[in-house]
Amino acid sequence: MLLALLAYATPFFWQILTSLKPEAELMVLPPLFPSRLTWEHYRVVLGQSVMLRALINSLGVGIITTVLALGLGIFGAYGIARYPIPGKALLLLLIVGGTAFPQIATVSPLYLLMRALSLRDTWLALILANTSFALPLVIWLLTGFLQEIPVGLEEAASVDGASRPRAFRWIVLPLLAPGLASAALLTFLFSWNEFLFAYTFTATEASRTVPVALALFPGVFEVPWGDIAAASILASIPPVALVVGLQRYLVRGLLTGALRE
């Protein structure tokens, strides 16, 4: 138990320590601990516009993707969970299959599509591409959560004279909140972490996301390990904050996603 904890905590602390070490003490081991701690690497990374801009891009793309995928997904899931739809079994199979689609297979046609629509190097290209793999997951998750909410509750509301949209707004939506939180959390995490589409569809600082900026980190003659460590820490802040703050929803989302068979 302690060993496992150590194996998982050590790389984090090591990266934090690296990001705070003076340049001169980086390339020697031992000693493990630096003689003094410095903010220099963070100053360098945030001083260049690249990483700052990437953080803004990732945040913007992540939030819009989450809103879009959830907006489309919530109606789709409600339709699937509550209405008779011809060919529903096939539809569900396609959606489940959609969560398994390898990105490497769709990256070349999507690249051509983005080029044809002059969307290369824009947020919209990334938002659309990220939505393509977040949406099946969102529908899959929300359908599962919706099926746990008894239909009787809505019917009781309609007997009391509430219209279906009203019943949905005031009865289903509050009960669905944990599901929405799980879906939003997973979508944002996937969008924040996504690399292949972002690497392929971006060309300049204008749309480069955090993982791309990190992968392209400049270092022609010497690898600036302290700066990379600082950039890695910055790139990890949103996932870390979300995991620590919303761990409950993350675990529930993972379980629902995995156990719905």
Partner: protein, 299 residues
């Protein structure tokens, strides 16, 4: 997926017209059609084209790209690397994931902290994980060599060590997923079962093989499916950590596909490799679904 569930729901709300349902699903379907289904068909078509470099145009080539791949040693090497990576990574994280889940179960307070660190490793961008391990593996100042007693191993530069190094990084990143699933299942096992086993004088090994493992069976099958699919299509970690090198020892099918597509600008060939990955993933998904159905675990 269980036909009983949704069908029962539908019967009770018989006043709901299919048209309304379709209307609700339509926007999502349109988005998926345009962004997933259509590109999938398009990639199939692309894989039948060949680029003529001088003119920069595509020409219909039929199965030429696939025939080329069948005789291309680099393709078979990449397929082999993908297979080794997938099997080793999934096997290790399965064993490790169960062990860590079992270790976590014992302690209430420690479990929360442990789970947090595990989930962090899972939630980090894989590019961050790649940079993290690149630094840990650094031949001169890496923590790994230091902890091994100051050896001078060049992890990512040595053809014999690069793939194991990559697999280790992937296991670190993805073992938490298996652990979370198993841990949740373990918590749901009634304590009485273990008390009864203890009274019958069962040892730790017998308790594990007779009680714990059978109850984890279903969740493990699902974990294997999810993780196998992910390992087959994974790209970020090896692309950033090793770039397929040294000497192609870590070049998976996805890295080969990417290089053909965007570095060699062979859209047709790269698309053909993409189609192969797609087919592999679908084959595995289909095989597992059959297996699960055979077990009576899925509808």
């Amino acid at each position: 997926m269980s036909p009983g569930g949704p069908a029962a729901t539908v019967m009770r709300s018989e006043r709901r017209a299919p048209g309304q349902g379709l209307l609700l699903v339509a926007p999502a379907l349109l988005a998926l059609g345009a962004l997933t289904l259509y590109p999938t068909l398009w990639v199939g078509w692309l894989s039948l084209q060949r680029r003529i470099p001088i003119f920069g145009v595509e020409r219909f080539e039929g199965l030429g790209n696939y025939i080329f791949l069948a005789t291309d040693p680099r393709f078979w090497k990449a397929a082999q690397v993908t297979l080794v990576f997938t099997v080793a990574s999934v096997a290790l994280e399965l064993v490790g994931g169960v062990l860590v889940a079992l270790a976590l179960r014992g302690q209430r307070a420690g479990a929360r902290v442990g789970l947090s660190f595990l989930l962090l490793a899972w939630a980090l961008p894989s590019v961050v994980t790649a940079k993290l391990f690149e630094w840990l593996y650094n031949p001169a100042a890496g923590l790994v060599n230091f902890l091994l007693g100051g050896v001078a191993l060049n992890w990512l530069g040595d053809p014999r060590l690069a793939l194991p190094g990559l697999i280790l990084a992937d296991v670190w990143r993805t073992l938490p997923f298996v652990t979370v699933l198993c841990y949740a299942r373990l918590l749901a096992i009634p304590v009485e079962l273990y008390e009864a086993a203890q009274m019958d004088g069962a040892g730790a090994v017998a308790t594990f093989t007779r009680i714990t493992l059978p109850l984890l069976r279903r969740i493990l099958l699902i974990a294997v499916l999810f993780r196998t699919l992910d390992a087959l299509r994974s790209f970020d970690l090896m692309f950033v950590l090793t770039g397929g090198g040294p000497a192609g020892t870590t070049e998976t099918l996805t890295v080969y596909a990417y290089r053909s597509l965007f570095q060699a600008v062979q859209l047709g060939l790269g698309s053909a490799v993409g189609v192969v990955v797609f087919a592999l993933v679908m084959l595995v998904a289909w095989g597992y679904l059959r297996a699960l159905r055979h077990e009576g675990l899925a509808a």
